[in-house]
């Protein structure tokens, strides 16, 4: 499997606080990699750095062999990196169809794309996440689960190669959570995307991820198959504290 993303020694400081410290890892094409760690471990900061929302203080981010450390987020998106947010951030004043349409228009470069073409494509992604019947509903009027579905549709419509799924289970009930997991698995099968899955819920990563990376206080403390990581004493200590 070819390497799709390579993060080398990235660090990020906010004033005196070190949010991410010298983290390196790589993701292969077609993989599902879990990123976990207690609250404030620096998971979202790391994703923000890879997506371009935050600048990198030191280190290097490579995507498909190309150095993207200095690229703005929209250029990274066009290359094939997209994400969903921990707290859903839909476009509240746009209908779900229009929201996905923005991605279909401006995500990966597709020449001679008209608004109508994008609308048609957007309906396809809405149908995939089960929101087709709500295509004309304003995004602010959706439920939390639907918002997460919309975010996934919006991210998929950019035709990404690598997608970051940020705590998709937060705030969902068990039935919805199960649906969400299945949806991401389907997305992986159908669109062939590589997934970096940020999650607190161990059980989900155990089931879905082939490899798990654990962050604690901004540093990578473990990496490997889920079962191995779950039994790692350092991981247990980071979650439960020292006995």
């Amino acid at each position: 499997m070819a390497e799709i993303l390579k993060v080398s020694n990235v660090s990020k400081h906010f004033g005196g606080l070190t949010a991410v410290n010298d983290v390196s890892f790589s993701i292969n094409e077609g993989e599902t990699v879990g990123l976990m760690g207690p609250n404030g471990a620096g998971k979202t900061t790391l994703v923000n750095m890879i997506c371009g929302s935050y600048g990198v203080d030191s280190g290097k981010v490579e995507f498909l062999g190309k150095d993207i450390t200095k690229l703005p987020p929209w250029k990274r998106c066009k290359l094939g990196i997209c994400r969903t947010y921990q707290i859903p951030r839909p476009f509240p004043e746009l209908t779900t169809l229009a929201s996905v349409c923005v991605s279909a228009l401006y995500g990966k470069d597709r020449p001679n794309r008209s608004l109508e073409d994008a609308m048609t494509e957007a309906t396809h992604y809405l149908e995939f996440v089960g929101l087709f019947s709500k295509r004309n509903v304003l995004a602010r009027d959706l439920t939390l689960f639907e918002m997460r579905g919309l975010e996934l549709a919006r991210a998929l419509a950019t035709q990404p190669k690598l997608i970051f799924v940020d705590e998709v289970m937060a705030g969902l009930n068990p039935v919805e959570a199960e649906k969400a997991v299945r949806l991401i698995e389907h997305a992986k099968d159908q669109f062939g995307v590589t997934v970096l899955w940020i999650e607190h819920v161990m059980a989900v990563l155990m089931r879905a991820a082939q490899r798990v990376i654990v962050l604690h206080y901004g540093e990578k403390i473990a990496e490997g198959p889920p079962k191995e990581v779950a039994n790692n004493p350092m991981v247990i200590e980071s979650y439960l504290g020292r006995g």
């Binding site: 476009f91 746009l94 991605s103 608004l115 991210a155």
Partner: protein, 345 residues
């Protein structure tokens, strides 16, 4: 030729052709009807009471400022409180070149537009650097700074009195006829702006502006080049507003920063946009006419009190109609994606 009135439509048969007009209320949203009314209005006023044409011209110009301002607001996701800065740029460019270089109005228009383009482009990074209150304050300051500059360089800008003696756009010899022609020129400017904005807002470019309005960071992360959109929409709007400044200068044959650059003029533009709905281009037309006529009535009935009443009316509008008149309509028609372009900061 045969003309027939049916229950729900009018039918005209001429030669081999047949034309039908539906007269059901649901077809009344045809914009051609409103354009027809706007074109007929100056002619009616001309025959009824010609001095009122000045108010019609003012209404058209207020709308012509508010329409590009809607583009600027939507494209940058921020409210610019100093659109009159570009009126000043356009007006002074036209006045200086007309008086000193004796350029024709056609050439001064190009110069005014270029002035707006250059200054708009130079100012546009503000929408990237500053946000929220800082952006509003900075944009509010620029016209006032410009006014100060006109006082400092009195030799050039003629300070309080302003520049006078510009070449008129039309001179037929009849005051009323001149006004009528000016009314049609101002209407043309306004309708052209309306047409351009309508085309932009229905295109694929508007949808990225809508996304920027709602969440800049997310829009950026799904491939929208936010900075480019902001700079382009800011610059286009500034250019269009500068052309209105050019018209003001040639219409009055004089231009003084004292009239256009202070906050009182900004307040009027702000009221037009508030009444119509902050980013609703059709609302701007209604707002422009309402405010121009309201101002005329207030000046005639209240005299000196009118500047005090304006802010009070604005306050009432802000409370009673936060989304403006068009907002009421749009609330029921949110399925059209265009309406959902709404300023939210």
């Amino acid at each position: 030729m045969e003309f027939e009135v049916k229950r729900e439509r009018l039918v005209l048969r001429a030669g081999g052709g047949k034309w039908e007009w539906h007269i059901e209320p649901r077809y009344w949203r045809n914009p051609l009807i409103f354009v027809g009314i706007l074109i007929a209005a100056p002619v009616i006023v001309y025959f009824w009471y010609p001095p009122l044409l000045a108010t019609v011209i003012e209404a058209n110009l207020l709308a012509a400022i508010a329409i590009p301002l809607a583009l600027m607001t939507i494209g940058t996701g921020r409210m610019n409180f100093g659109p009159q800065f570009y009126i000043g740029i356009g007006g002074y460019a036209a006045a200086l070149l007309s008086i000193h270089a004796h350029l024709s109005p056609g050439l001064t228009m190009i110069a005014a537009a270029l002035g707006g383009l250059v200054f708009g482009f130079l100012m546009s990074p503000l929408s990237i650097i500053a946000g929220g209150l800082y952006y509003s304050l900075l944009t509010l300051l620029f016209p006032l700074l410009f006014l100060e500059v006109t006082y400092i360089f009195t030799d050039l800008f003629k300070g309080d009195t302003g520049l006078s003696g510009l070449a008129p756009l039309v001179s037929t010899g009849s005051f009323s006829l001149n006004l009528l022609i000016y009314a049609f020129i101002s209407l043309t400017i306004m309708l052209v702006y309306l047409f351009i904005m309508d085309k932009i807002f229905r295109s694929r470019y508007a949808i990225q502006m809508a996304a920027i309005n709602d969440d800049e960071e997310v829009a950026n992360s799904i491939g929208v080049n936010v900075n480019k959109v902001k700079i382009i929409s800011f610059t286009i709007a500034a250019t269009l507003v500068a052309v209105v400044g050019w018209f003001y200068a040639h219409y009055y044959q004089a231009f003084s920063g004292q009239v256009f650059l202070p906050l009182s003029f900004m307040l009027k533009i702000f009221m037009v946009t508030m009444l119509g709905g902050r980013t609703q281009i059709y609302g701007c037309v209604i707002g422009g006419y309402f405010i121009a006529f309201l101002e005329m009535i207030l000046i005639r009935t209240m005299g000196d009190m009118s500047p005090v009443l304006f802010p009070i009316i604005l306050l009432v509008l802000l409370l009673a109609l936060p989304e403006g008149l068009f907002g009421l309509y749009r609330k029921r028609h949110y399925r059209e994606y265009m309406p959902t372009l709404r300023f939210r900061r």
